[in-house]
Symmetry: C2
Subunit: 293 residues, 2 copies
Amino acid sequence: MSVGPQLFEDIDGVRAYVRKCQAAGESVGIVPTMGALHEGHLSLVRASTAATTRTVVTIFVNPTQFSPDEDLASYPRTLEADLNALSGLAVDAVFHPGPEEMYPDGDALIHVVPSVLDKNLCGLVRPGHFRGVCTVVAKLFNIIPADQAFFGRKDAQQAAILKRMANDLNFPIRINICPIVREADGLAMSSRNKYLNSDERMQAVALSRALAKGKQVIADGEQSSASVIKVMRDCLAEFVLVQPEYVSIVDFDTFVDAETIGPSCLAALAAQVGPARLIDNMQVNGVTGECEM
Amino acid sequence: MSVGPQLFEDIDGVRAYVRKCQAAGESVGIVPTMGALHEGHLSLVRASTAATTRTVVTIFVNPTQFSPDEDLASYPRTLEADLNALSGLAVDAVFHPGPEEMYPDGDALIHVVPSVLDKNLCGLVRPGHFRGVCTVVAKLFNIIPADQAFFGRKDAQQAAILKRMANDLNFPIRINICPIVREADGLAMSSRNKYLNSDERMQAVALSRALAKGKQVIADGEQSSASVIKVMRDCLAEFVLVQPEYVSIVDFDTFVDAETIGPSCLAALAAQVGPARLIDNMQVNGVTGECEM
């Protein structure tokens, strides 16, 4: 019965649509994505449609969060498949601007910058990445003044930074962080999994397996982060196609390295698997198996 | 007939008020100030009440735009006089939060940062100042989702940066830059003029007089910025209580030093006069005597 979401490519159009919805008393959820939608994204969409009366999915491969040596050019752009994937859900609108609509003057000159929370993990190895993320999400929040936003917990550092941004800058929006969705073998879903050939895909299970091993030794009583990290690194080393980038245990509030296992620790890792840089994380000292935000 | 503006000290209260006005079809103007209101501020208020149906004046001495060696502690706080000054105008609400309402966790961790436009003039001599300004104004725009905002042209660099911020981050607000209001002798109105004793007050005319002299030699045909700056510095040097900080001619779009006088040049200067750091600026190559933004 659904006619599918309404597609907007211009800022004025989607903003007018959202304002009209809100003037009619509707609540609006926004799900910011870079497209190449997978089941992880769709879980965010379902969370939004359950919590609000109108859901807007944004699809924009944001150039300013890629460094020059990263995969901006090859990042999958699959608009038709994305719209098909959304057509079965109760999505009301898709905002799919071109770069020139979002950055008419080239990159923004005024940026939103995390001064903390970005000094470790992805923030450390991808300088400028979270500046690009914060800036584009601030722009999206201003373009689409939604009541709630939905982000995935796979990008735990991003989620924490954006939650903090909304708080610190008083964006009138509720930030929801939703659980990681995994493949049957444990691989966290990611648009970049598309880059993997079949051998790489099989070995990509290394990330979630290393996290699970770390969690297990902590459950068995290990208190030293260095020892847990060694267990995780040893696990990754069994996979010849996997090149670890960082393997860390951090405090979940600050994203600073934790020397000993505390009540709010997050294990997080990044690795290159063939052409794909993949990340994953897991709460290692709790009963839920997922971090709370 | 006016009962005076409604006073809000909390974010939720003023936000609900503004949303209620907008839901009723009203347009809202915001005039962000640090209080100690003078005729310059009141001109912004009049511009707002003329252009919108509801005007909110914010009064908040923002600690994060002061460096440790600046005058945060002594900056004049004159709420009662400010409310009296506003009572004769058609101001609907005043937002006067405490620092703990605006920064409940201490300073914000996520900042809005100008990456350009701040490398000269006040941005050069007051590191972090415009980061503090942009961050607090972004917060205010999110707290009070006004349709229009009004800033004074005396703070030309601030005005240009905030206009650029609204543009780059897609704040759905129109930024209006209003003319400098001057005392009879030419001194630009400023809350910091209160710091001046009578001798200092008399000599403070040096700033506007130097700008006028620079404008005159340009009108007489001078094309070299260095020569014009020397004329302005020589003028300032006649006033023994005036210690120049910067004396510059900049391109108005970029705030970069202009070597020769072009069609969009701004002369800007800062000087210490007794306990007061004062600034002023003037369009030096146009017929209006004031810059356009």
